[in-house]
């Protein structure tokens, strides 16, 4: 009974620590002498050898560490390469449109426009390689300025940076006015 308890404790410790833990520290934590602790660990090692287990305990110079079995390597490679589903949510789209048209822009400026903290959206857009840091604002705290990436241009079929409406603020104004006029005309035509 007590043995089972000690095994559970060792398993939990090695799992949490991730790194190699010296025998002496393990023994202290589970309130047994080193010799007994060593025996318990070696007994556990035998159990982990079972083919239904994917992890093992290895000994490293008087310390013990939990790690995956070598035979699991291919499986681990596989899982890390299974792409996660990426979705451009409304939140992301909204943030992206603000950055696209207002770049270069700081996080605070984005948040002022949206009215809510936007760290998550910004991080996701960076991960998706749609936006990136383009510099720092010359203001207290030197906040990061964000802009869109080349990938962004390519994806939207814009050939060069010159085609990006937001690069030149005046151009953006023109573009916006134009678009508004167009929109107005469309409505009037109805």
């Amino acid at each position: 009974m007590e043995l089972k308890q000690a095994e559970a404790q060792i398993e939990a410790i090695l799992f949490t620590m991730g790194e190699a833990v010296e025998l002496s520290r393990l023994a202290q934590a589970i309130d047994h002498d080193e010799e007994t602790t060593k025996k318990i660990i070696h007994n556990m090692m035998d159990k982990y050898a079972d083919e239904s287990r994917g992890i093992q305990i290895i000994e490293l110079d008087g310390a013990y560490q939990m790690c995956t079995k070598a035979s699991m390597y291919d499986t681990i490679i596989k899982i890390t390469r299974i792409p996660k589903k990426h979705v451009l949510t409304d939140v992301l789209l909204e943030t992206l449109s603000i950055i696209a048209y207002k770049q270069p822009i700081t996080k605070l400026q984005i948040e002022t426009i949206r009215g809510v903290k936007s760290d998550h959206a910004i991080n996701k857009l960076i991960e998706y390689n749609l936006i990136c840091e383009v510099g720092r604002l010359d203001a207290p705290g030197k906040p990061i300025l964000f802009g869109t990436t080349e990938e962004f241009l390519r994806t939207f079929g814009l050939n060069s940076l010159d085609n990006l409406p937001a690069v030149n603020p005046e151009k953006l104004e023109d573009f916006k006015l134009q678009a508004e006029e167009e929109a107005e005309q469309i409505t009037l035509d109805i």
């Binding site: 390597y73 681990i76 890390t80 979705v87 451009l88 991960e127 749609l130 994806t155 939207f156 009037l188």
Partner: protein
Amino acid sequence: MSIPVKLEAFEGPLDLLLHLIDKNKINIYDIPIVEITEQYLDYISQMENKNLEIMSEFLVMAATLINIKSRMLLPVQEKTEEEQTDPRQELVERLLEYKMFKYVSEILKEKQEDAARYLFKQPTIPKEIANYKEEIDPSEIIGDITLQKLHEIYRSIMKRQNDKIDPIRSKFGKIEREDINLTEVFAKIQEYGIKHKVFYFRNLLENQSSKMEIIVTFLGILELIRLGRMKIEQEKMFDDIKITYLASDIIQIEEAGF
């Protein structure tokens, strides 16, 4: 009750009310409103916090309490059964709902303490695999979003932004009283409606419409809907409101009973 109180200790007016109810050990369904109102006012008169925003929230509740109190003091007229609702009813419901969430947050607090005993592990992906970076294809993520769509989204966000700013006040830096002529606006909507039949809410507004103009125009539209003289649609998020004008004549504001 001469002990000075710090109102920040209460998380808002509902919290203070619940405190008073608990302290007096009274039935939440039968609040002695006169007493509670007095105690409540007592508390806020001792308010040390001069933060206007916090203060105003407490004052709103004070006004509500006084309103209930005065309604309860008025002689009860003979009414049908349906009309005989307790003036305290709405407040009681709010208090109960608030109290329930306070109760729930206590349960969650315990759950959090229990769950804090589960310990997790940092990922230990082997270096050679960790260096592998998943290829993210932006065009796949973007899917069928066009630059046009992105532009629309941006415009709608900016519209919302602009709506929040009163253009007159923000431009001149001083407060100017503006007179919106209700009769004129009402007539203007109808004239525009007869001329265009189908149009958008934004078409009715000048480029730099003030908040008041927007509100009055909107109220005018609501009134005309009520009278069955127009109908409105909004197809999807961020869209402008589409108005279809149904009548062919103009009615005066007096006729509309606006």
